[in-house]
């Protein structure tokens, strides 16, 4: 199914283009409070109950683009231009990366199982017999579920001859692998940051576009305007995200205001090499398991929720970590911006002094659009250095394992330990449980590549193309030598 036939994504990108364009032109102060009105004029039909609600939601989305969460709102009447002024002065990027806009959250219905009007109130009533909690009673017209008794087991759905009982999910809660997003008494969703791993699955799942991402784009533009050397560290998953070659992207990034493009695949080479070494050492000393550590949502999940796994997570820095180091070694004054499909990298960057800011592919696309840079027409810049093809494969599932295997086979004279690699992908509730079992040594495999997003980074919440297509492009480039 085409994912871009989706009004939520379009609005998100359109808002980004408007904000970036305004900030580059120096006109955003005058424009920003008008954006909701321009995008939802009174003479057009509303998407929600009325245009005023549409506009209110757009205001919160704009707050997110300025880097603020709903939690930062102390005065509802505070205009966006005041937030903008604060964003321009901010020195530290926001610590939390997601937020839920109250007016946008529709408050999906609480119960998961619903009896539809297809119910005939039949004589056999298998639903009442299958229910272990006697939660179903049959009235004169149709059956009813007593939601105070229902335990969401779903047995009734399988026995109804009319298929009249359906499961209605709460999309954000369904997508969240850790149960961090939950309703309050009023029915609106809140994120519990004690268990949130910033994977961004809720952002992608919410059909009301109520989950906001807190962007750092204002800071990136500020660094460009200050004339700093801003290095674009592009994730391996970038290939296939734009209709352009890496060379065209390098030129496009230069035109967009970056000084250089650094392939994070260069950092991935170091990750693969050192992780292979680390694996060797860990197996030597008798560990039964090591896991990858490049997916920040997974690392956060272990830190917060799977303590059994902590000692098995590789201590080798991620490709982003190494890339930041490479860039700062070359020029300590430069500003490093990681650009990827990932929400959780924002969190990882918070604790990495070598990574100043994080942008998403979506934001980069909006920057290209705002600057009217058409990648396809560019001749392209010769890359200063071509990254190793294996390292370029990190962005798609199994890419990490492949790169480590490659490094191990390249080891000098040593007999590498036998690697029994497993891919844990995506990070969902089932796989969270599997990880626990792996940590306890109850499942086979001595190396786990864990990727929170379906298909690897290419399936990230801020990717521009679907995971299958993005993954194919990454794998194609990874094979080229």
């Amino acid at each position: 199914m085409p994912s871009m036939n989706n009004a939520a994504e379009r609005v998100r990108r359109e808002l980004l283009i408007r904000v970036i364009r305004g900030e580059l032109d120096g006109t955003l102060d005058q424009e920003i409070d008008r954006i909701p009105i321009v995008m939802r004029p009174s003479d057009q039909p509303a998407s929600r109950c009325c245009i005023y609600k549409d506009r209110a939601v757009l205001k919160y989305r704009l707050m997110g683009i300025l880097g603020f969460g709903v939690e930062d709102e102390t005065d509802e009447a505070k205009p966006l231009r005041e937030y903008l002024a604060e964003a321009r002065l901010r020195r530290e990027p926001p610590k939390e990366v997601l937020s839920v806009a109250p007016v946008a959250c529709y408050g999906c219905i609480e119960s998961h199982y619903v009896i539809t009007n297809a119910c005939r109130a039949c004589f056999a009533r298998p639903c009442t017999f299958s229910c272990p909690k006697q939660a179903i009673t049959v009235g004169p017209k149709q059956a009813e579920i007593d939601h105070s008794k229902c335990i969401d087991c779903g047995k009734c759905t399988t026995v109804c001859p009319y298929k009249a009982i359906i499961r209605v999910p709460i999309p954000c809660e369904e997508a969240c692998p850790t149960g961090a997003i939950r309703k309050d008494e009023s029915g609106r969703e809140w994120i519990n940051f004690d268990t949130c791993i910033s994977c961004g699955k809720c952002l992608k799942a919410c059909p009301f576009s109520a989950v906001l991402e807190r962007s750092q784009i204002i800071e990136v533009i500020r660094a460009m305007k200050e004339g700093r050397r801003v290095v674009a560290m592009v994730a391996p998953a970038i290939i296939g995200q734009f209709p352009a070659t890496l060379e065209q992207l390098a030129e496009g990034l230069r035109k967009a205001g970056f000084s250089d493009m650094l392939e994070v695949a260069s950092g991935a080479e170091l990750t693969a090499r050192n992780e292979a070494k680390e694996f060797f050492e860990r197996m030597e000393r008798g560990d039964h398991l090591m896991t990858s550590s490049c997916c920040p949502a997974y690392v956060e999940a272990v830190r917060k929720l799977i303590p059994e796994m902590r000692k098995f997570v590789s201590a080798t820095p991620s490709p982003m970590g190494y890339s930041g180091r490479l860039a700062k070694e070359r020029d300590p004054e430069c500003v490093t911006v990681f650009i990827g499909p990932c929400v959780a990298k924002r969190k990882e960057a918070c604790s990495d002094p070598n990574v100043d800011y994080v942008m998403t592919f979506e934001e980069l696309g909006a920057l290209f659009a705002a600057r009217e840079i058409n990648l396809g027409t560019l001749e392209g810049l010769k890359l200063e250095r071509e990254a190793d093809p294996y390292a370029r494969g990190f962005g798609a599932g199994c890419g990490v394992t492949a790169a480590i295997l490659h490094e191990m086979s390249a080891g000098e004279g040593q007999t590498p330990p036998k690697i029994d690699g497993k891919l844990i992908n995506p990070l969902d509730r089932k796989n969270m449980r599997l990880l626990k079992l792996h940590a306890l040594g109850k499942l086979p495999g001595n190396f786990l590549e864990v990727m929170a997003c379906e298909g690897g980074c290419v399936g990230g919440p801020c990717a521009l193309v679907d995971a299958e297509k993005g993954g194919a492009a990454v794998r194609k480039l990874a094979r080229e030598e």
């Binding site: 871009m4 359109e14 696309g365 909006a366 290209f368 659009a369 009217e372 058409n374 396809g376 521009l464």
Partner: protein, 92 residues
């Protein structure tokens, strides 16, 4: 209608159109029924130029037979328009 008069379907793959939806449209051929596919020429264009002068609101753009421009194009809308235009041609 002979082979020479296939319906020309130009999809703008400029960066702006791409991020606002053309990334899906480039797979239009996969979504078209075989009978329709035989009667169209799908061409990806680097940029058709409609987004110039900051008018990105209409993106992604698709142009049919060098005359009809579809704004905010989606696979469904383009398919529908293709069907309508082919029907018109057949009636001529």
């Amino acid at each position: 209608m002979g082979n020479g008069s296939k319906l020309k379907v130009e999809i703008c793959l400029g960066t702006t159109c791409f991020i606002l939806g053309a990334s899906e449209l480039q797979d239009l051929a996969q979504y078209l029924e075989p009978e329709l596919l035989d009667r169209v020429d799908i061409i990806g264009r680097t940029c058709l130029g409609f987004c110039k002068d900051r008018k990105f609101d209409g993106a992604p753009f698709v142009r049919l037979d060098e005359s009809i421009v579809i704004e905010r194009a989606t696979v469904a809308r383009v398919t529908e328009k293709i069907k309508a235009m082919l029907k018109e041609k057949d009636a001529e």
